[in-house]
Symmetry: D2
């Protein structure tokens, strides 16, 4: 099958860019499945039911989140009604609304396990991501329960992200990072057959500080005072993501290529 993953949508400019480019991409790349990280879609902070529905209408099959999962209070209840919206799987079991992993049917009938996971290094405390993913992979083994497995590892440190790639290699279709809002140039297929890119990059305006208007971040870096508010930058966004083609029998990757369209970054579109 053929799928794409797009990194953190930051604000309205990110949503507009995805709206502008996804229908064409879906067709051109013959995508069977699309996953998008939406943790910053609502003016940079979390996501709303309305925004999620807009994204599903656009042809997105699953949405993931991250440390901004609960920035909008409505997510606390909405996520229990919407199985296609996932929050990191390593939030404490029992007390956390929603799910961290779900088996979702693709347009072509394939069952895709989508997992959202948060890193431990330099992030707020959750359960250990490595034992969590071990459990999720055991519950829906690829080639048996799942036809493909897409893991969004929302994490800061490159060491932990490469470690997660290595840990899941051969057991997932794609391990892709989010959270840093900068795409990495290391898309590749790991030795065991898992597609990997350290960070998908954001769908946001790169003439910014990780998608936010430059003024307030600069003020904080130079004054060390948190006196203003962060606002998403409003220039044209770059749509950033990864395209993966998998072997239908094994779920392992045959192709793994970056996608970058529009805005400040150099463009990159996989050959159809």
């Amino acid at each position: 099958m053929r799928f794409a993953f797009f990194g953190d949508i930051v604000g309205k400019t990110g949503r507009r860019a995805l709206e502008a480019h996804l229908p064409d991409l879906r067709q051109r790349l013959a995508l069977d499945f699309v996953v998008v990280n939406a943790e910053n879609a609502a003016a940079g902070f979390g996501v709303t039911e309305k925004i999620c529905e807009g994204l599903f209408d656009l042809g997105v099959d699953a949405l993931t989140l991250g440390n901004h999962a609960w920035d909008q209070r409505e997510t606390l209840t909405y996520i229990d009604r919407e199985p296609r919206l996932l929050r990191p799987a390593n939030f404490p079991a029992g007390s956390t609304p929603g799910k961290g992993a779900n088996l979702i049917e693709a347009a072509n009938g394939s069952r895709v396990l989508v997992v959202n996971l948060m890193g431990a290094l330099f992030m707020e405390t959750l359960d250990d991501p490595f034992s969590t993913i071990e459990r999720e992979l055991a519950a829906a083994p690829m080639g048996q329960v799942a036809d493909a497995i897409i893991i969004d590892f929302h994490a800061e440190a490159t060491s932990e992200k490469m470690g997660m790639g290595v840990f899941c290699d051969g057991r997932a279709s794609l391990v892709v990072g989010t959270h840093t809002h900068v795409p990495t140039a290391d898309a590749r297929i790991l030795p065991g057959g898992t597609a990997y890119q350290t960070d998908a990059g954001m769908c946001g305006d790169y003439d910014s500080v990780i998608g936010m208007d430059k003024e307030e971040p600069l003020r904080r870096f130079t004054t060390r005072m948190r006196t203003g508010r962060f606002e998403p930058a409003t220039g044209e966004a770059t749509v950033c993501g990864v395209f993966v083609e998998t072997d239908d029998a094994t779920g392992l990757a045959l192709r793994c290529e970056p996608i970058r369209i529009g805005g400040q970054l150099s463009g990159q579109i996989p050959q159809s």
Copy 2:
């Protein structure tokens, strides 16, 4: 002028790859100046006099370091004898050997200010990088004292790195990140004319965890015990860096393009 910056050399495989490709690159891209981050050149931990001399012989004009600056004790004295070897400028003034910035003459006679700087987020405590770079830029303004300014910002967080790019925009030729060991796909020229890439990536084997053999990092991630030693991976390295061409009068960037040669990553060489 035309120059290149290459990210953290990790161990012998990184050094071998640079030896194999730099002479050809220097000629093909007509480089006037080359800077390399060498903080992991000595088996992953710091650098030695012998390794530095080998790199200078290879045609490297300046070397930068980072949090691994002092891993080899000989660096504490060698750096005072070698003005082309720089350590982060925001180590405490007075007590720290070596310099954090230096004006170095290029092959074409240009005076290039090279600055090494360490980030504050998720890193060990040093002086504030923003006030430090402000001071360095004031001491050798571009277009007056310096013909070009190259800033290696050794930092973890993409927010701080993009913030540093914005802060120096129009006042430096290049702000490039190091330390994460993964190249980012965001090479560009900022609005004020400064070339920018969030991370240069390492010169190391990417079939690894940030250049280190996978076994020990995986053991630490899964057991949370530090019982073994890190060893550099030994597969073929990818040489990762950035190529920049500047306006001789202003020092601002005319071109900014990524370089990736060999090993696991997709290749990318700027047009001559």
Copy 3:
């Protein structure tokens, strides 16, 4: 001279407790000077002009702050009009309102240098506290410019706090920590003559989580979601601080004893 330092006032219960006990303490211990950390006095978050004035009217001679310095916007301007209100001295020079150190006259005519300083470990990034205090101590040497020197080191890690005590030993009358909101049982005079206590403790309700009503902190620890608001606990506060008597000629400490009055903790009042 004889002075007392009291740790972070947390909310109204902390203010009430200080109001109830300070007049009596001032008389009983024959205090010439009183310093209080007020970073949490305004419902847990920063301080207001009105609260500061109430504290000065109560007989407090100087107020210090910490990471909550700017929680109330009015502090940004008020601090420039009120020389007895200090914020951490290692905020960036130039851009930060107010002062981090000031020479304040005591009731008995002594000139007391009060310094507020923030730690680097596990705290937000400021300038290095050790080089900052070195500069402040050089500017107003004890026994020459200052008759006594009181340093409020607002920091998390005990290693950094003991390190600061050792670093200033013989050059200050008192190095006392704040920020952890728990008094330490290690009041003593260091070998060089500087009084020292790792943390003064808070003036707040200890039937709480560091002064805050238990419910929301517990929710965050168990759910890892930041969905509620912190409110100060409202039970009776314990007034926590340190009493120091110094040699008038040298400024060095002759006595250093803990103060704890009221609320949940065991009481401790120095002999007059």
Copy 4:
């Protein structure tokens, strides 16, 4: 029953002090049970079989550890042979040698559940301490399976430690912190009947930086270079701990008082 807990033994001076004072304390306070944190007993780094045996011979009933658990390689195998030596319970299940909690018989026949747990804030990543302790308390409820429960919470942040006290209040005999190496002056019985002290303090020389000779820590704080080695300070140690008397039927606390004997700190011994 009556028991005592003593904080991190730092090096030989800490061991000598405990040897000098524990036999007398055991008798004077009629102790039925003694727990000691030994994570720094072997020259500051971990513990050895020989040191553990010496401590058991001295009358210690259980030993706990912390982030230094594995500093001595022999602990990896010794801990599987010695059920009285515990490491933090929130190390990953399955891969970690030893146990994090154990039911140990006291001299008077009582069954005491001793739990060692590591904090999440500002510490290395382990499993969540709150869900871990929930599981341990459920497995051996106080008043049913266990006659008393002693929890050593090895953690940095006072907020997390007070949070753990609140979380376990009414379900454990004692929640006491270790790791900061400074005793807190907040020994008390929480509303639900659990004895609590934020940190027990170390058994070590306080004329130091958290038990280590002052020279190297000071060098690191002022130069920010890790060029030397940490060595335990060698002056007379203060034995620091907590004395608790419990109700035999419920396991809840009747008394909770600090212990400090010898060395630099003011002395404090509970009345017999």
